[in-house]
């Protein structure tokens, strides 16, 4: 038994559809006989990719003129649902805009949102969501009991993205009702922070630093090691909050979820916040001077030692190998 229809909230930057969107489309194909996308922008720019991953239709608002997605997209979906177009479920990635739209929509429809999910299954025509708590040590499965559509937020990298080879999705206009003062928040400028090396999303190796580095200058060791390994540098929330590195480096619950082949945690104790963002890595190497640090609970190789001694020696050893 499957659900009959799922909508996936699609996100894209300059026409490039986000990985999370493609992951959700892939999973949705398994759960429902019809998969469609909702997009707060120009549908033609994303129809080919969305179709390739299984969306037959993209309901698109057209250009929003810089208005933040939450208010207009949620209002448009709510109006479509009221007009009889309701899918069984609407899937959102846990992203800045995904959470905004899902939150607004839950109020408009007076429906709960089940958040932070890493797995979805269908049981007797209802959607069951799996959410990890306590840093992933415990899994909680929650079933929707109210009427649809079910609103679901899913964490990035929960599913593999696999193309289905579908034709471009048909673009259908999704009308945005007048949202009055609520829709007044508008983007006036966009800034891109430059960062070197591969992105955290795609890197096969990630080297992250935390508070155990002691001071912001020492993050250079993480950058150096990452460069030698062709890895992406990352960081724990503690040092992002402290202003050592930009937020774009952050791995964790807030920040990026990464699943590289190798994750090296340097001076990171392993707060819940951080662990949920990296626990899915294939191999985890941790260096920390505190033997009781929770990070050692997930490490495949753990070195109880001082990062200020281990990292420079490791960098030297790798350099010597050329």
């Amino acid at each position: 038994m499957t659900l009959s229809k799922i909508w996936v909230y699609a996100e894209a930057t300059d026409g490039n559809v986000s990985n999370t969107t493609l992951e959700l489309l892939t999973k949705a194909r398994e759960l429902a006989s019809t998969v469609e996308a909702v997009f707060g922008g120009d549908g033609a720019s994303v129809a080919a990719t969305l179709g390739e991953y299984g969306a037959t239709t993209v309901h698109a608002t057209g250009d929003l003129g810089g208005v933040l997605q939450g208010v207009p997209v949620a209002a448009a979906i709510a109006a479509a649902v009221a007009g009889g177009a309701a899918p069984d479920a609407i899937l959102f990635g846990t992203s800045y805009d995904g959470r905004d739209v899902a939150g607004r929509l839950s109020v408009a429809l007076d429906r709960t949102v089940i958040t932070n999910n890493v797995d979805l299954e269908e049981d007797g025509g209802a959607l069951v969501c799996t959410e990890p708590v306590f840093g992933g040590a415990t899994l909680v499965r929650t079933k929707f009991t109210g009427g649809g559509p079910n609103i679901v937020l899913v964490r990035p990298k929960s599913f593999a993205a696999e193309p289905a080879g579908g034709a471009p999705a048909t673009v259908e206009a999704l009308a945005v009702p007048d949202t009055g003062a609520a829709g007044a928040a508008r983007v006036t400028n966009r800034f891109v922070e430059e960062r070197s090396g591969p992105s955290l999303d795609d890197a096969a190796i990630v080297v992250s630093g935390g508070r155990g580095l002691g001071e912001s200058d020492k993050f250079q060791m993480v950058e150096d090691l990452a460069k030698l390994l062709g890895a992406a540098p990352g960081a724990s929330r503690a040092i992002v909050d402290a202003g050592w590195v930009p937020y774009s480096y952050q791995v964790g619950q807030t920040g990026k979820v990464v699943k590289p082949t190798v994750y090296i945690a340097a001076g990171i104790s392993g707060a819940t916040q951080h662990m949920v963002g990296m626990k899915g890595s294939k191999n985890i190497i941790a260096v920390n001077k505190d033997a009781e640090a929770p990070i050692f609970g997930v490490a495949d190789l753990g070195i109880i030692g001082d990062v200020h001694k281990v990292l420079p020696k490791l960098i030297e050893a790798l350099k010597a190998r050329g």
Partner: protein
């Protein structure tokens, strides 16, 4: 257009969650399937940034009151006292046995009702998510219920002439976003450095006004919150499959060799 040297005094509300101390291991109550919250509750660290930002914005505006709003079991107020000690003027707490099991949407309904009790609130600040529940949807839900615009993930906030200017975190960097007041803004951790309460502040906090409301006082139907209002049911709680135990070594100088050997084995080097 006249240029005012100062903004008008601005009343600001901060949503403040009181949570179990994150240093203590969390647990789910197997009976009620909710997070155990029977011990002392502290002000969520994530909310200290909002409190600090509110105090700074009120000061920059040339005055105005900062009010904390919260929902917590058993009329717990310790966390709110911390925020009052930082400098907030007063607090509103909604506490009611019927709130057990309330989801994010129900929480937003309660907070929005409490915010509605605050005279002339121009700006509502929240964290981006709580440190214990981290649904991250409450700020947007509160804004939607109040019919206000919202800007989430602020890494800086300025208010000039009735408009809020925010740098909003994005995947690639940040967006500059502006919006006329009133508005709900969620602030990221690290946006400002929260002050430590002074001894004087701690003493003063004990006598600051703290309104305690029941659901009925807040004007909320008990059926729309709690387990009944949720529209979801927990059907399973299980241990996640544990990672196979790794090899942990005390560094005796050979730690680097072990890392290199591990990477060699994976053909990384």
């Amino acid at each position: 257009m006249p240029i005012s040297a100062k903004n008008d005094p601005m009343n600001i509300v901060v949503c403040a969650k009181q949570i179990p101390d994150p240093a203590e291991p969390g647990a789910l109550d197997p009976q009620t399937k909710t997070l155990k919250r029977d011990g002392k509750l502290i002000l969520d660290e994530s909310d200290m940034y909002g409190v600090e930002m509110a105090l700074q914005l009120a000061e920059a505006a040339g005055g105005g009151e900062v009010t904390l709003v919260s929902m917590a079991p058993d009329n717990k107020v310790d966390g709110l006292r911390s925020g009052l000690a930082m400098g907030a003027a007063k607090a509103v707490l909604v506490s009611d046995p019927a709130l057990a099991g309330t989801d994010a949407l129900g929480t937003a309904k309660v907070l929005a009702a409490a915010i509605g009790k605050v005279e002339g609130a121009q700006l509502v600040l929240t964290a981006t998510e709580s440190s214990d529940g981290y649904t991250g949807t409450v700020p947007e839900q509160v804004a939607a219920i109040l019919g206000m615009p919202s800007i989430t993930f602020a890494k800086s906030i300025e208010v000039r002439d009735g408009t809020v200017y925010v740098k909003r975190q994005t995947d690639a960097g940040y967006d500059e976003v502006e919006c006329p007041l009133p508005c709900v803004v969620s602030v990221t951790a690290g946006v400002v450095e929260p002050r430590y309460p002074s001894f004087k502040g701690i003493m003063a906090a004990k006598s600051k006004p703290l309104d305690q409301l029941t659901l009925a006082d807040a004007g909320i139907d008990a059926g729309s919150v709690g387990w009944a209002g949720g529209g979801q049911e927990i059907v399973g709680i299980e241990e996640a499959p544990a990672r196979e135990a790794g090899e942990i070594f005390e560094d005796d100088g050979s730690g680097v060799d072990k890392i290199v050997a591990y990477l060699e084995n994976l053909k990384i080097v």
